[in-house]
């Protein structure tokens, strides 16, 4: 019962909405009587939507030249502003991605490769120390310590730049947990070795198992994830900003059409405002297309000559490390593990060594192909030479071991003169040089690419506002002729 009074109230402030808008429309038809149909009398209607009202207003306005000019001015200004806004938005996105490539995802992918490398190298150094028997040399201890330090530092870097709760963060946490565990095992191994107890060797085997089965796979996983992120950043930075380009072309076409119409109506060639708008829109469009093309070229170049080379070189370095690790383990295990391939039985570690060396050869060949200048090629071809020598010496060492001359085989692998260790170190050193070179190339190209986008977003925004102002002013100038 109480509903009735309240529900009856709304109808009252509803005399007729059509009438209230009507006076605004006839106020315009003043001077140029052109082909236009007189406006029909408004039918008293029900309540109408704002959109419908606006549309009617627009349609009414379109019947007169000033009205049309107003519409054209508004559309031009809108187009130019939209063009500027979309350009600024799309280019900010690309510039950020390009910046990420240079300053975040590529360094992180390199860091991840370094983590893997340092861990594998530390493990190899530790097992070489064991092989040498007695107290390990200062060199092998330093090498081990340095690698552990590098791994720890790079892990902190990687942790800082990974999103919490991401799979990368979980992998990094796992590695952070395993690293001290590993180090603890190696330290125990050292202590027992000093006391002359073989349980030291057992600890070292356990540490090696932890490294091979848990840490290195995690590090490899991290490397793959960071590489994915790098590729994703490239994918964000390089595609053409089609929306911005289309809007730019549309804005320029509209401006051209407006000026052409202006010329037809008034015989006046130049409207300063519209010319200014056209000029700024053209500048923005050219800047956009050229700037982006240059950036794209730079980034693509950095990918083709930087990232691809870097990836192959990292892979090569990892393969050489694995090969060295397996070469040592062949001697540590002393024929304990065998592997059957087809009908042949091989020493498991020596078989893996050969696989790793084949991989190394493949990666080095690819790196040689990707290297595009002499300073990039030189270390790679030097590494190929080291690898060949390594294979030769390895074969000789294996022969000694097969003949039961374990001590001689050992000297030929971890000794100080003419040992395979020298070849491995040379391969590693040359790959390091090649990596440094490619890293510089990458930074150079990617930096050029990123710099080509500098100021584009802000410039596009400012110019678009100026252009829109020009368009509005230009139209306003024409419009004022009707007053």
């Amino acid at each position: 019962m109480t509903h009735l009074p309240t529900s009856s109230t709304p109808p009252t402030p509803d005399p007729d909405p059509g009438l209230s808008t009507l006076p605004a429309v006839p106020a315009q038809p003043a001077q140029p009587p052109q082909t236009q149909t007189p406006h029909g009398p408004p039918e008293p209607q029900h309540r109408r939507t704002a959109f419908a009202e606006g549309f009617d207003q627009l349609r009414a306005a379109a019947t007169t030249e000033p009205g049309r000019l107003r519409i054209i001015g508004a559309v031009l200004a809108l187009l130019v502003v939209a063009f500027g806004a979309v350009t600024a938005w799309q280019m900010t996105e690309r510039a950020t991605a390009a910046d990420d490539v240079l300053t975040s995802s590529q360094p992180l992918s390199s860091d991840a490769a370094d983590i893997y490398r340092s861990l594998a190298d530390a493990n190899t150094a530790a097992s070489s120390g064991f092989l040498a028997g007695g107290q390990e040399t200062a060199t092998s201890r330093d090498r081990y310590e340095k690698n552990i330090r590098t791994a720890a530092e790079k892990l902190v870097n990687a942790a800082a730049s990974s999103d919490p709760d991401s799979p990368s963060a979980a992998t990094i946490a796992k590695l952070n947990r395993l690293l001290p565990e590993y180090k603890g095992l190696v330290e125990r191994a050292r202590t027992y070795n000093r006391q002359g107890f073989p349980v030291g060797g057992a600890y070292l085997r356990y540490a090696n198992e932890k490294m091979q089965q848990q840490m290195l796979p995690a590090a490899e996983d991290l490397y793959k994830k960071e590489n994915q992120r790098l590729r994703a950043d490239y994918a964000d930075a390089t595609p053409y900003p089609w929306a911005a380009i289309a809007l730019g072309v549309a804005a320029l076409a509209a401006l051209a059409w407006a000026q052409h119409r202006n010329y037809q109506r008034t015989n006046r060639v130049l409207n300063h405002g519209l010319v200014a708008a056209t000029a700024t829109a053209t500048v923005v469009l050219l800047w956009l297309v050229i700037g982006h093309s240059v950036a794209r070229a730079g980034l693509n170049d950095s990918y083709d000559h930087g990232v691809r080379s870097l990836n192959v070189l990292h892979d090569a370095r990892i393969a050489s490390l694995k090969a060295r690790g397996n070469e040592n383990l062949t001697l540590v295990a002393r024929g304990a593990e065998t592997k059957k391939v087809g009908d042949e039985t091989y020493d498991a570690y020596d078989y893996d060594f050969r696989t790793d060396m084949n991989d190394l050869g493949k990666y080095l060949a690819e790196a040689g192909k990707l290297a595009d200048d002499t300073s990039g090629e030189r270390p790679v071809s030097a590494a190929v030479g080291n690898m060949t020598e390594w294979k030769k010496r390895h074969g000789a060492a294996r022969e000694q071991d097969e003949n039961g001359n374990y001590q001689r085989a050992l000297d030929m692998v971890i000794g100080t003169k003419n040992a395979t260790g020298e070849c491995f170190d040379s391969v590693d050193e040359n790959l390091r040089t090649a990596l440094a070179h490619e890293e510089t190339e990458f930074k150079h190209a990617a930096g050029d690419g990123r710099d080509a986008l500098t100021g584009l977003s802000a410039g596009a925004a400012v110019l678009a506002v100026l252009g829109a102002a020009g368009a509005v002013l230009g139209i306003g100038r024409r419009l004022s002729e009707y007053r």
Binding site: Y192, V199, G201
Partner: protein
């Protein structure tokens, strides 16, 4: 309990156990008898007969019965060269070496002393014996190529011909004599429990309930635990799934708290305890085992030769068994070598 009682009965106590043995022996005879008739060669017959009885056995107890005293199943000693020895002697120049599977992780048995300077020589009680065998066969104690072999690879390595023999604290038992030929025993030991001194475990008994025991994969310790667990000798809640490639890896697991107890031969357990003063052997040895040199099943001449070498080795008071024991084992197993010395060898293998 039955397995233990059976062994005890062999020493002369336990009437019920003796009855079991008699019954079982009758069963064995029943199974073996028809076979020599089926085959022409008595040699193949006995071997096959054994294989058949083993295939039909259901418990560990029958395994004991089916091959009684495996350590006696070896050939009489002889110094004659046969095909196997000739093949070894005919190896050319650098390769003229005896290829022997050993351990490099058993303290004072076969190991590398990390402080022995720049050499990577293996040393220990087993290694001494290897040098003695090489000296006798090839005339040079150093004419040996050592291959380090994990516990569970000993038999495959012999069968595949990767080694001429294995001298690696290898227990002579019934399962193994099916696959390889053993020399006469050169050492006597038994399974024992190794735990931290503070551990509540008192030996091979119910205090192992709910504990994790570490053993080497493919070791007699593991197969004993497995059989005892099935028999109820060992509490069902005992976790014996933790196996490692070498018995020494068990000490690592024990120290890291990943295992509560280690079961291995007393001789090796003592070597582990010697490396860590906070662990100790608890309880008496609960099996009797003999170490032998393992060779290829058909290398009869080599088996006879090694047995001859062992006879000489044990008689040699200057540089023989006793001297090697004193050098390597008296520190961990005690000055008295008598309890480690195997009984006078018997050569009951006729084929």
């Amino acid at each position: 309990m039955r397995a233990r009682r059976l062994r005890a009965s062999l020493k002369g106590w336990g009437g019920v156990a003796a009855m079991t043995v008699v019954c079982a022996l009758v069963a064995v005879f029943a199974l073996c008898l028809p076979l020599p008739g089926a085959h022409d060669g008595g040699a193949a017959g006995t071997v096959d007969g054994r294989a058949v009885t083993q295939a039909t056995r259901t418990t560990a107890v029958t395994a004991e019965e089916d091959c009684e005293a495996p350590e006696k199943q070896t050939l009489p000693p002889s110094s004659a060269d046969g095909d196997t020895i000739k093949a070894i002697k005919n190896r050319k120049s650098e390769k003229r070496k005896l290829i022997v599977g050993v351990d490099q992780n058993s303290y004072r048995w076969g190991y590398r002393d990390p402080n022995s300077g720049k050499t990577a020589e293996l040393e220990g009680f087993d290694i001494d014996l290897v040098h003695r065998i090489a000296q006798d066969i090839l005339g040079d104690p150093k004419a040996v190529q050592f291959k380090a072999i994990p516990t569970d690879q000993r038999i495959p390595a012999i069968k595949d011909g990767r080694v001429d023999m294995v001298v690696r604290t290898m227990t002579i038992n019934c399962d193994r004599i099916k696959d390889v030929a053993f020399s006469a025993p050169y050492f006597k030991t038994g399974q024992q429990v190794l735990v931290p001194k503070s551990s509540p475990i008192t030996g091979y008994d119910d205090t192992l309930a709910g504990r994790r025991i570490c053993t080497a994969a493919g070791s007699t310790a593991y197969s004993t635990l497995e059989a005892d667990k099935k028999d109820g000798e060992l509490p069902g809640s005992t976790d014996i799934s933790g196996t490692v490639p070498n018995q020494l890896d068990c000490l690592v697991r024990l120290q890291l708290g990943e295992a509560d107890a280690v079961v291995t031969d007393g001789a090796l357990a003592a070597s582990q305890a010697a490396q860590d003063p906070t662990v100790q052997l608890k309880g008496e040895a609960f099996t009797a085992e003999y170490y032998g040199v393992a060779m290829k099943k058909d290398a009869d001449d080599l088996v006879r030769r090694v047995n001859q070498i062992l006879v000489d080795y044990r008689q040699d008071t200057e540089k023989g068994w006793q001297a090697s024991y004193e050098q390597w084992l008296s520190a961990t197993l005690g000055k008295d070598a008598k309890k480690s010395e195997p009984p006078a060898p018997q050569y009951l293998r006729t084929t």
